[in-house]
């Protein structure tokens, strides 16, 4: 696939503070790329430097190899959906969608056809003569989308487009957006701080932290093989076992948590010295009533509390070795009950070893 948009060591400084710090990334044509990160991590800054509203302090941004770092926004031909939609309140839905076509001098008949088909795609053809304030949040969001897409931009930039909507509507629109992406083949660059949204919609996700890209990859990669404790913490729920590496043969690496030992497949993990953390996702842990039933990697514990989420249970298991562990259990097996004594087990192919300890780990494991 041809390269569509490239960041090359882009920095953006505000005074002495770097909102973007040496960001390099290649976004492929037609890709659904999500920028994910906590508040203040530089997501909007990165998106706005693509849109042309933020001028990088150094580095370059290229579109199909062509330098666009200092091009003004109106020359870029990108669709932008702003966080608050930014619909023009003095124009009707139709006039809002017409705006980018009018600027480009598209003939009336052609413009009308484009507006009609775009409004049909977002299912707003019956509301074309309304003003934005007469629409619900979800409808406004669709107008913003239609307006950003009607001139067939090369790139669609979306800054938390669904964050103001309630959960059910958000789910619907997520599906619609994904649909639209597949139908039109436009490159989407999507900012969110909702990890579930990022996982379910994206081709690739870039996790941002303090203006840097912490990890970049497909959703499965990021979830299954987080590259840092920050990434593991940010995407999904995790248990962190404070461990040391104590042995290594050609099949397994052996770890110790206190006096307790367990093994992970050698080809799945890095060899590490010093303090490390083993990341175990709650849904990779299993609960067993007896030691014999549990896999080789196991520890004894007592269920402290259980939460029911409709599609699964989440149990907090208090263990002597590793403190509290979060374990998800499906609805098929027996329901976990608070107070039960259990064995928590996991297979040798499910853990990820990372250097360091999570912040605040000392209190958590004492």
């Amino acid at each position: 696939m041809k390269e569509s948009l490239a960041f090359d060591s882009v920095r953006k400084a505000y005074g002495g503070f770097f909102a973007l710090d040496d960001v390099s990334i290649d976004i492929k044509a037609g890709e659904f790329m999500t920028l994910l990160g906590p508040s203040g991590s530089g997501k909007t800054t990165m998106l706005m430097s693509i849109a042309g509203f933020v001028e990088p302090t150094s580095g370059s941004i290229r579109l199909d190899g062509k330098e666009i770092t200092h091009l003004p926004p109106e020359k870029r031909n990108f669709g932008v959906v702003f966080q608050g939609y930014a619909l023009f309140p003095h124009l009707t839905v139709r006039e809002n969608v017409f705006y980018p076509l009018r600027v480009r001098g598209v003939p009336k008949a052609e413009a009308d056809a484009k507006i009609r088909s775009m409004l049909e795609i977002v299912q707003l053809d019956h509301l074309a003569e309304r003003y934005p304030k007469q629409l619900s949040g979800g409808q406004q969001q669709r107008v913003a989308l239609a307006r950003a897409m009607v001139f067939s931009p090369e790139l669609l930039l979306l800054d938390e487009p669904l964050s103001a909507l309630d959960r059910a509507l958000r789910k619907d629109l997520q599906r619609e957006l994904k649909d639209l992406h597949e139908r039109l083949g436009t490159t989407f660059i999507y900012v969110t701080h909702d990890q579930e949204e990022a996982l379910s919609m994206s081709d690739r996700i870039a996790i941002l932290r303090d203006g840097r890209i912490e990890q970049l990859g497909r959703p499965e990669e990021l979830y299954e093989k987080p590259a840092s404790i920050f990434a593991a913490n940010f995407l999904g729920k995790s248990n962190f076992l404070p461990a040391r590496q104590v042995g290594c043969d050609d099949r397994f690496v052996t770890y110790a948590v206190g006096d307790h030992r367990f093994r992970l497949d050698r080809d799945g993990v890095r060899s590490l010295d010093g303090d490390i953390s083993i990341v175990l996702r709650p849904e990779r842990l299993t609960l067993h009533s007896s030691e014999e039933a549990a896999p080789d990697n196991r520890m004894a514990g007592r269920i402290k509390g259980v939460s029911y989420f409709g599609q699964l249970y989440e149990a907090i298991v208090e263990t002597e070795v590793a403190g509290d562990l979060l374990v998800s259990a499906g609805l098929d097996g027996p329901a976990p009950r608070a107070g039960e004594t259990v064995w928590v087990g996991w297979k040798t192919n499910v853990g990820v070893a990372l250097p360091g300890r999570p912040e605040g780990a000392d209190e958590a494991y004492d």
């Binding site: 109106e74 702003f82 608050g84 023009f88 705006y99 600027v103």
Partner: protein, 296 residues
């Protein structure tokens, strides 16, 4: 409080009614006292002025006929309209730029600019008018500077004519335009112009198609406000016009104090009041339309 609510709490509807009557009485007294006060001190003179315009010196519409017929009065009214129009146009232009700058300035700059605008309210209009004479007169600061720089050879005539009056009036009116314009611009979503540019509009086109239309209610409100104020301006034209530029307010005063034609004076005053009332109604319509546009 308790004795007002206690009877109805006991369920006696008669007691409840009398309590609410007592409450209403207090309410009406509080409304009526200032209303009567305003009516006697404000409405009575206005009405007496209006009545006088129809009965002095003879009963009938003679005074109004004079207004229509007299070439002198027509020229005063024409001059007033011209000065008001120029003042309003210039004030709006300068006020718009200032309000725009204030809206887009950083937080601290915004406070400083706001303070400077408010500051001019603290200085009396008389002092400001005389200050303008010091600046604009033939031996004034401005002419001295221009001659010193060799830009002109003989002093420009900047006072005792329309220019002086308009400069002084624009200066006085500016805060009255800046404040409503600024208030209106504050309500315009800051992402709209960037959104327009992202959609392909140049900075200028985005301003004319997005920002300007959304600031029209502010512009209309400020314009009418300035027009109303300038139509009754008295001190500034009298001093900076130096008797050469006579606007309607000064003309009315002349009729009363010099020629003692009270009938003519009061009929002109009545006309002025009617115009101002009409403008006020127009302004309230614009304000309503403006806020309705936001609410819809």
């Amino acid at each position: 409080m308790t004795d007002v609510f206690a009877p109805s709490a006991r369920g006696g509807s008669l007691f409840g009614a009398s309590a609410s009557f007592r409450k209403n009485t207090a309410y009406w007294v509080m409304v009526l006292v200032p209303a009567v006060f305003l009516a006697t001190l404000y409405l009575t003179p206005v009405i007496s002025v209006m009545v006088r315009s129809f009965v002095e010196p003879t009963v009938g519409l003679d005074n109004y006929a004079t207004i229509v017929d007299s070439a002198a009065i027509r020229s005063v009214l024409g001059k007033t309209a011209y000065i008001c129009f120029m003042t309003t146009a210039l004030t709006l232009a300068l006020g718009y730029v200032t309000a725009y700058a204030m809206t887009h300035a950083g937080q601290r700059e915004k406070y400083v600019m706001f303070f400077l605008v408010i500051l001019s309210f603290w200085i009396s209009v008389l002092i400001r008018t005389f200050a303008w004479i010091a600046v604009l007169q033939p031996q004034g600061i401005l002419n001295d500077i221009l001659i010193g720089l060799g830009l002109i050879e003989r002093p420009l005539r900047l006072v005792r004519n329309d220019i002086g009056v308009i400069v002084g009036m624009v200066h006085y009116m500016l805060p009255f335009a800046i404040l409503p314009l600024f208030a209106n611009m504050q309500t315009i979503d800051r992402t709209l112009v960037p959104a327009a540019r992202a959609l392909g509009a140049s900075a200028r086109w985005a301003f004319f198609t997005v920002f300007l239309p959304l600031s029209l209610p502010g512009l209309a409100g400020a314009g009418i406000l300035v027009l109303i104020f300038s139509s009754g301006f008295y001190i500034t034209p009298a001093i900076l016009g130096g008797g050469k530029v006579v606007m309607v307010a000064e003309y009315i005063s002349l009729q009363m104090s010099e020629t003692l034609k009270w009938g003519l004076a009061t009929s002109l005053a009545t006309c002025l009041t009617v115009v101002v009332l009409a403008l006020t109604v127009a302004m309230s319509r614009f304000m309503e339309v403006g806020s309705a546009g936001k609410r819809v």
